[in-house]
Amino acid sequence: MSGYRMEGAGRPDRSQPVRFSFDGESYQGYAGDTLASALLAQGVTLFGRSFKYHRPRGVLGAGVEEPNALVSVIRGPGRFTPNVRATSVEIYEGLEAVSQNRWPSLKTDVGSITDRLGMFFPAGFYNKTFMWPRSFWEKVYEPAIRRVAGLGDAPTEIDPDRYAATYAHCDLLIVGAGPAGIDAALEATGTRKRVILIDEQNELGGGALSDPALNPWLEASVRDLRAAPNVQILTRCTAFGFYHDNFVGAVERLTEHRADIGDGPREKLWRIRAGEVVLAQGAIERPLVFEGNDTPGVMLASAARAWLLRYGVAVGRKVVLMASHDSGWRDVFAMAKAGMSVAAIVDVRGTVDQALLDSAAQLGITVHLGSSVIGVSGRHAVSGIEVAANDGGNRRKIACDALLMAGGWTPTIHLWSHSKGTIAWRDDLGAYVPDKPNENVRCVGACAGKWDFGSGVVVPALPTPRDPTRIKAFVDFQNDVTAKDIGLAVREGFRSIEHVKRYTTNGMATDQGKTSNLNGLQLASTALGRAVTEVGLTTFRPPYTPQTFGALAGRAKDALFQPTRKTAIDGWAEENGAVYEPVAQWRRARYFPRGSEDMHAAVNRECLAVREGVGIFDASTLGKIEVVGPDAAEFLNRMYTNPWKQLQPGRCRYGLLLKEDGFITDDGVAGRITDDRFHVTTTTGGAARVLNMMEDYLQTEWPDLDVWLTSTTEQWSVIALQGPRARDVIAPLVDDIDLSAEAFPHMAVRLGHICGVPTRLFRVSFTGELGFEINVPAQYGRAIWERVFEAGRPHGITPYGTETMHVLRAEKGYIIVGQDTDGTVTPMDAGIDWAIGKKKPDFVGKRSLSRPDIVAPGRKHLVGLLTEDPDVVLDEGAQIVADPSQAVPMTMLGHVTSSYWSASLGRSIAMALVAGGHERMGETLHIPMPGTTHRAVVTGTIFFDPEGSRLNG
């Protein structure tokens, strides 16, 4: 034995030493070690501080169930990973790990004062103590509590790593490559099934890795599986969630174990659709509940076995077993045979299998039956234990440096539970096992409760002569929940395990109660005097073990986070200094500043240019739907409020779309191209929604109509040319359309060519000026834009953006659905009931327009507001009141929906939704804003050119 390393035992490669550091101290291990095994081999017992009481903690388990030994791994800027289990961290040359939740150091932690004051920190303490004053919670209490009671620090830098993702399909997915999983995979070799076998560890084998007798079988099996062309093996891969229809999410760790991480992805998300899933996740040993069971050096017997046989590490020079189950006996027998000293076996049972007693005798191990450990001495490491007979007598002390717990086994049914399979209680196992599947999934091996570990008894907590209300016997190690906390929860009236769990936080830590759920359940069941099955079992939810956000996000970061939709003209705008704003998924030019102009100055200039000359605007993002078929007019007539059947080909109409509830949901202009073909436009943000809504009605309400809908949003680039000089600009570019006002009036559409490119030329206006919208196939969008821009230079053509568009339309009182409406505004409220076809028998939303609440007086109406001080531009969203001197809370009449400075009018303008607004014309209302309250007069919504004469120029 060198340190605690056992010569000749274990899998780590002794010819490959690996240096690493923990809390700044340098250590050496071997390739194949975990951080935990390498530190244990060096005699380290203290790994961390507990969540609430800051108690010193060692390692409890040897795998992903580990609740105590959480560490942070640092590997350069941005690469800081907190809360990883030391038992799952593979060491590599230069690994830098640090402990957590301690200050100033792991050995001397000021926070441990909470441990001594533990009696003042019962379950629910924080909720009870820090409730009042309410305002203190967010700013004072929570940050302070979080600082003291916490896990690792959250990373603060941007994650520089990249993450891969893929879908995969297979006929058989096997989760877990222990003996049962390997057998299931071997069965499928030689078949035509596509098999994926995944395991969270660095090598296949699971429990077999801790059983040298199985080595030859394991080697041969792994060789056969690797040779099988139909089997894909993924190691270091955790199946974290089981979703509907055998869809399993898994994360493969690609670089976490490597000294040189290269420049490939750190992790890969596998989204696997499987014909059949076999869950072979094994079982986790349960700790026993007694005072001092969290002292560093107290651990699961199975873990000690793994340290020895898999990693070649003795967990102590003199160990004691505390058992309620046969399996621990076998573990310590293996240790004794390997040369470790076993000071005693203590078993809570009065009788055990004679064969076990014989083996113990042969190995010279003292046995105490019908006895329990009642105390553990040592603070940073076990130095001895006190044992008593179950009746409290015969107390004695035993010197030892490690105490092993064998409390029975809990099948790992997490993924089974995700898949909504039912579970059944097994009294003999003291555990739930999988029962009826809900998907094409089955459990095999220990995961199904099938194991040959022997038998045991279930004890909620070990008997003790001490006052159970004064001791700390831990149930949930990670969340610092003790047996008496669960007792308290029951005394305070909690009956369901779901409530007990939330009150005590038992099982709510990052380990999801892998080692604590069943013990918590047994304690609650005993305290309540009800069967375990009546108390229940809390629900497991993904992820099975914590996963990085990066892995779940996959490639969806930075430029690939979300598609930013750009028009064909976007590049021109970029080259010409546009400032952008996001609109739905698009980015749109908001304004085009010149020199040092701010938005205000640029927008004023752009607005005046349109009113006095001509402006050019990229309207390509407008939603477009081609409605085609013999019943096209009939369909639009039923969808929109307006009449469509009499509209002549070549003419356009404003369309107003309501939902069934009578509220405005979208609007746009549609042109009739031929008798059976309409070019319908929608708002930018409404494009997909409107198409879906139309399809919904078409398919479910009117399947008899011969009409079809095709999205053409992206087919057309749309160049809006607006202003009194618009016609002059395009006249030289268009030779097959008569552009004269007589031949081509406002609200008309013509087919022809511009610069030789086919166009649907609309004469429409969202500015109140003479205007055209030039539709050309998108690949020509930029070229035509540039030609039009060149042609417009002599006329002073000015590119403008969405902000100017907003101002110009507001000057005309044109609404923007979603800004001036909010899903509760009817056409009457908005003052656009002129768009309702009065003679139409029906349209979507018509019946709702006569509902009592829709026709009742006092509804909010869209009105104009002119501030008394013309220089004041109201805040959009500002509330409106009738009397600013009324008591708070005031009666609010509505809010400002649109508000701008109008350069054309030389004053501010605003629109607002105001209760009874149409009856308040000329009334002065008040708009409280930060610092002062403004006065404004209610007006109509058309501020500029109310006669509309400019439109027809």
């Binding site: 879908y167 059976d676 030789g756 998108a778 690949q779």
Partner: protein
Amino acid sequence: MADSLHRASPLPGGTVTLEGATLSAAPEMGRYSLRARDPAALAALIGRELPDAIGACSGGIARLGPDEFYALLPAQDALPSGEGGPVSIVDVSARAVGIVVEGAGAARAIMAGCPLDLDRMQPGRATRTVFEGVEILLVRETETRFQIDVWRSFASWLWRSLAGVNAA
């Protein structure tokens, strides 16, 4: 005159090499969304045969649904407008662009973001599907060659996403 105008594509030129596959822009094509309650009427109107089975693709025309077809034709092939007939024929040539993924690793590259089981997709099949959050039309032209049709404004995102499936 139109011929002298620059025709813009949202895709970069050239090819990108992936593990076992290359990524390149498909040439300009004629694209038509074809709808009809009676496919025979549609076939007669356009003078072309239509595939019978949903998901089949022949003569450049894919059947996407009971009443929906999508034509991917050489750029110069124009279809009639179908005016007056019980059909909908809409020219959507500019709505989408094509990305060709070709090579032994093509299916694997696409499956990085497409939830379909491409082992089960035969050459000559076409379907509407998604790549992560973006809708695509996927045509398996041969065992190792796919064309992905994607709406124009999503094309640069999709290109970057595909180009990064191995590197990411």
